[in-house]
């Protein structure tokens, strides 16, 4: 099996990356573990949405909308399960399914390897993810939810910065 192959879209060559065996599952579980453990010791860490960053990264790298969608759904549902009764099952599931699908679709059309592109895309996806959660809460759960706060703006920027660094680290899991 080829480790990488070219996807030809509109005469551009976009590499589809394969990862080492179990890398996606291990990374996802580690991200969820860190997300639930670190805020106990460093409360400010809760501003970072590691499961979202993982969804975006693997979506952009795998560039397969079906895989991205399923991975987003799985990560979202796991996050819902770990969030307790205040978060209904499916809230993050819906949002991350859509983000996984969009990230894979965009990844198949654009070269998203440059840190600047990754920064911008992570910020956009963070905003979109938040928007999807607010829409779900407002329309399906009839819960009052604010669209934007300063904390969210800061969180988008922080997640984008962390995302760029994390993505560079995760690049090492790719098969050469």
């Amino acid at each position: 099996m080829n480790d990488t192959y070219d996807l030809r879209v509109a005469e551009t060559h976009i590499e589809v990356h394969q990862f080492r065996g179990g890398a996606i599952v291990a990374t996802t579980l580690l991200a969820l573990l860190v997300q639930t453990s670190l805020p106990v010791y460093f409360p400010k860490f809760s501003i970072i949405d590691l499961p979202l960053l993982i969804t975006i990264y693997f979506g952009l790298s795998r560039r397969n909308p079906s895989t991205g969608l399923l991975l987003g759904m799985a990560i979202g549902l796991l996050q819902d399960s770990l969030s307790g009764p205040t978060v209904p099952l499916g809230l993050y599931g819906i949002a991350k399914t859509i983000i996984g699908y969009l990230a894979s679709s965009i990844g198949a059309r654009l070269d998203t390897e440059h840190p600047a592109a990754r920064f911008a895309l992570t910020m956009v996806f963070f905003g979109l993810h938040q928007g999807l959660i607010v829409v779900t809460r407002r329309l399906l759960l009839a819960q009052p939810e604010t669209w934007f706060t300063m904390r969210l703006g800061i969180a988008a920027a922080v997640n984008a910065v962390v995302g760029v660094l994390l993505f560079m680290l995760l690049d090492r899991l790719r098969k050469k």
């Binding site: 969820l32 997300q35 639930t36 453990s37 670190l38 805020p39 106990v40 409360p43 809760s46 501003i47 970072i48 949405d49 499961p51 796991l78 996050q79 819902d80 770990l82 969030s83 307790g84 009764p85 205040t86 978060v87 993050y92 969180a155």
Partner: protein, 282 residues
Amino acid sequence: MLQILLLAVQIRRDSQGRLIRVWTVGAVSPFERVGNSGVTGIRGAWNHYFALQNTSRENERLLHENNTLKLQINQLQSKAAEADRLAALLNFRKSQQSVPMLGARVIGASADTASQTAYLDRGERDGIRRNMAVITPDGVVGKIIESYRDTSQVLLLTDKDSGVGSMLADSRIQSPVGGTGEPLLAMKYVANDDAVNLGDRVVTSGMDRIFPRDLPVGTVAQIKPGNPFKQIRIRPAAKLESLEEVIVLLSLQPLDLKKEPETPSAGLAEKTAPGLPRPEKP
């Protein structure tokens, strides 16, 4: 000349002795001073610039020793803080022996970035059920919202879905206090006519039938006029951002905690353990 010298030998100055000594000392001392300055300068230069073979090594050793001592101090401070917390928990348990309660450690947080919950290392097997009150010796923490076999989840007071029946400790004005998703809580229904001051203590009213009466909730941190109620923000008494150990009150029936004599400090720990030595905070 000889006459003058002989005279000088004989003439005495009141405070300085014979004149010849004055002249001699006056003539020699400038040279001595210059010589001394030169020697001091040379010795200083030698000591500070040339004879430093061992200083660098000594500096490294001292830096290493300093770092080791800093590390030891940090470890001791951490241990002292833990001992402090555990002593407060123990004192509280001793003072409330009739109330069934269980100590638990915080082992995790919510995966949802917006909600304020925490996982405990005790669950159904230890008798924890939904809606049980969770406190620390400092004050109210929250309530159990989910209980699994060996773990349980606490909804912290700061979560926007959280709430506790409360009242102002002095005026006994009652109003629920709820979370806002921010570090400060909101006291929702205090009329503009009611007198509230910054620093006023807020305690549980017992009206929610979850928390016993008179547990510290927090202190008034902000007051703004509103319509029709004041906008009051409360700083939680319990350190909700750095929780490590908590107490779960193992009862779904309203409990009455033994009330201890008031002390100037608002914390329950101080109220329930009067006279007990508390380790000094680092």
